[in-house]
């Protein structure tokens, strides 16, 4: 009845190879700029790679999070297209390896000028939290926690897909694997709370500006990665529907994902604004310096573009109900959101590393991001071919097919 066997369409393969080729061109451009270049050229290259690899890792991890959240809440609506976030989650390990190798080489080779706390002349006594922060921003802790978290994310991502596939061959009505998945999800919720929702953005991104700190920074990063992760899932759903798969995923399911995109765009704005307003109101020089370069300095354009792409566009376009059910409109907004949050990460990472020299990282980054997108398309589409597109024998299967949003 339904087409459950996914075959990678030729157009997807072709597009992804073109994108990967663009990424390779970006890499060659970056490496050639770095060869014989000064420290600035080197920093520009490494900061760009870091920006893109962290961005793709975090939006992939968002897929594990949505699986966890819906499993724990026993939500049925996601079961219809559960295989898509599962396929993304099962490929988190690829991006984890890229990010792990990159960050550890930054920390241990110590000549990339990304993290100022690695500088031997850096004086930790300058900052008011020097005891604790010295431990947090040490080579040992950074290595230990980065490796541990990347390992846990990769394993949980693979495990969730394994459990889901195991359920396919179980007898109808069996809930053993379902409860196993529930327990694994509870474990991941804890891991997630201690990693992406708190320490990891502090460690990887906020420590670029090592004197500046904001408790809200991690939540703000979580919102950013989650809303772009949901947008990515939306694009996969619409692509598969267009190719004639996922016939049981209706407007109702698309509407629900659209609600997530809408709601979490507002949630992101809430955190973005709260972080800004407290610092603006307190007006303490060591805190406002972070926004000086972004709001009034060379990043002014990106600062306001960020706000328009990630708040004004989604809230105005997605507010009416029919728009959340219109496949063209939601895919357009999904692309706007993903690009907007790419810009968001850009303006988080670049000012602290390359200061006002953002032109080269932007061009290089736009090419390299194509490469990463192509890689992701290859990986996810190959994983999708390996199992039926609907979880068989899932206890919520009927409920998800008759779902009305």
């Amino acid at each position: 009845m339904l087409n459950q066997e996914f075959k990678v369409p030729a157009s997807l393969t072709k597009t992804s190879w073109v994108l990967i080729a663009l990424g390779v061109i970006g890499l060659i451009y970056g490496v050639s700029g770095m060869m014989g270049g000064d420290d600035l050229a080197k920093t520009q290259f490494w900061a760009t790679i870091m920006h893109n690899s962290i961005f793709y890792l975090l939006i992939s991890v968002a897929s594990i999070f949505i699986l966890t959240a819906t499993s724990l809440a026993q939500g049925a609506w996601i079961v219809a297209f559960r295989r898509i976030p599962e396929a993304i989650a099962a490929n988190v390990w690829v991006f984890a390896i890229i990010v792990g190798v990159l960050l550890l080489s930054f920390v241990w080779t110590n000549n990339t000028h990304i993290y100022s706390w690695l500088d031997p002349n850096f004086n930790p006594k300058d900052n008011p939290l020097n005891g604790l922060k010295n431990f947090f921003l040490s080579k040992g802790f950074f290595t230990f926690w980065t490796v541990a978290v990347l390992l846990l994310w990769s394993l949980f991502g693979i495990k969730m897909r394994q459990l889901s596939i195991r359920q396919d061959s179980e007898p109808k009505g069996s809930t053993k694997t379902y409860w196993k998945n529930f327990n694994v999800s509870a474990g991941f919720a804890l891991v997630f709370a201690l990693s992406l929702a708190s320490t990891i953005p502090w460690l990887w991104i906020m420590s670029i500006d090592s004197h500046w700190f904001s408790t809200m920074f991690s939540w703000y990063n979580f919102a950013s990665s989650f809303v772009s992760g949901m947008s990515m899932i939306m694009l996969w759903i619409l692509f598969l529907k267009r190719k004639g798969y996922m016939g049981h995923v209706l407007e109702e399911h698309v509407h629900d994902v659209g609600k997530f995109m809408f709601a979490f765009s507002i949630f992101w704005t809430y955190l973005w604004f709260s972080q800004y307003m407290l610092i603006w109101y307190a007006n303490i020089p060591e805190e406002t310096v972070y926004f000086q370069i972004r709001q009034n300095g060379p990043y002014k354009f990106f600062y306001y573009l960020n706000f328009i792409l990630n708040f004004v566009a989604p809230i105005l376009i997605l507010m009416p109900r029919p728009n959340k059910r219109n496949y063209f409109v939601v895919s357009l907004v999904a692309i706007i959101i993903i690009f907007g949050h790419w810009i968001d990460f850009f303006q988080m990472i670049m000012p602290g590393t390359v200061q006002e020299h953002w032109e080269k990282p932007l061009v290089m980054g736009l090419l390299i991001t194509c490469g990463f997108a192509g890689l992701l398309m290859q990986l996810v589409s190959r994983t999708l071919t390996k199992a039926p597109l609907t979880p068989q024998n899932h206890p919520f299967l009927k409920e998800t097919i008759i779902h009305i949003s």
């Binding site: 604004f273 307003m277 109101y281 007006n283 109900r321």
Partner: protein
Amino acid sequence: MSVKKFAVATYNDEAVLFPAVKKVRGAGYKIHDVYTPFAVHGLDVALGEKESDLHIAGFIYGITGTCTALGFMGWIFTTDWPQNFGGKPHFPLPAFIPIVFELTVLFAAVGMVLTFCYLNQIMPGVKKHIFNPRQTDDKFVMAIEVDDTTEADTIAFLKGTGAEETNVQIAESEWWYGRWDKKEDYEIQQQIA
């Protein structure tokens, strides 16, 4: 005030109600209303109701709240009584945002509640005829307006759609303000009969 005659069918389950609604509409009967103990998803679509405009009203109320908050605070702090708070500008937009947000929500919420009450013709003290007391408990009730010529035919059709109970009621179709008065109801029925 207008008293009308209704054919009333009571169903046991929403799984019976849905096909019944489809059959009744397919046969060309005009459903007065359906009463359910809980919100049945998709019933509005099955009944062919057009989408509510309540959210458009909500958007307008929200924008009104935004403008009220910004305009009022802006007028106070720039024109009416300018003060210097810690060297901040006289129109400190970031500091106003939380209040602007709260007023937007307040206007939208209160306005939408009142509009909802108006659209559904409900208010404290307003009474409406209840076709079956168990429609708020566990029964699903469908009412169809009939006259003397269509009455028997409609009841027969409703029986065929799986209704567990059918009857004809003469009732006030609009709301009224006052008391539940069974005697008055009885008198109306007597007058019509």
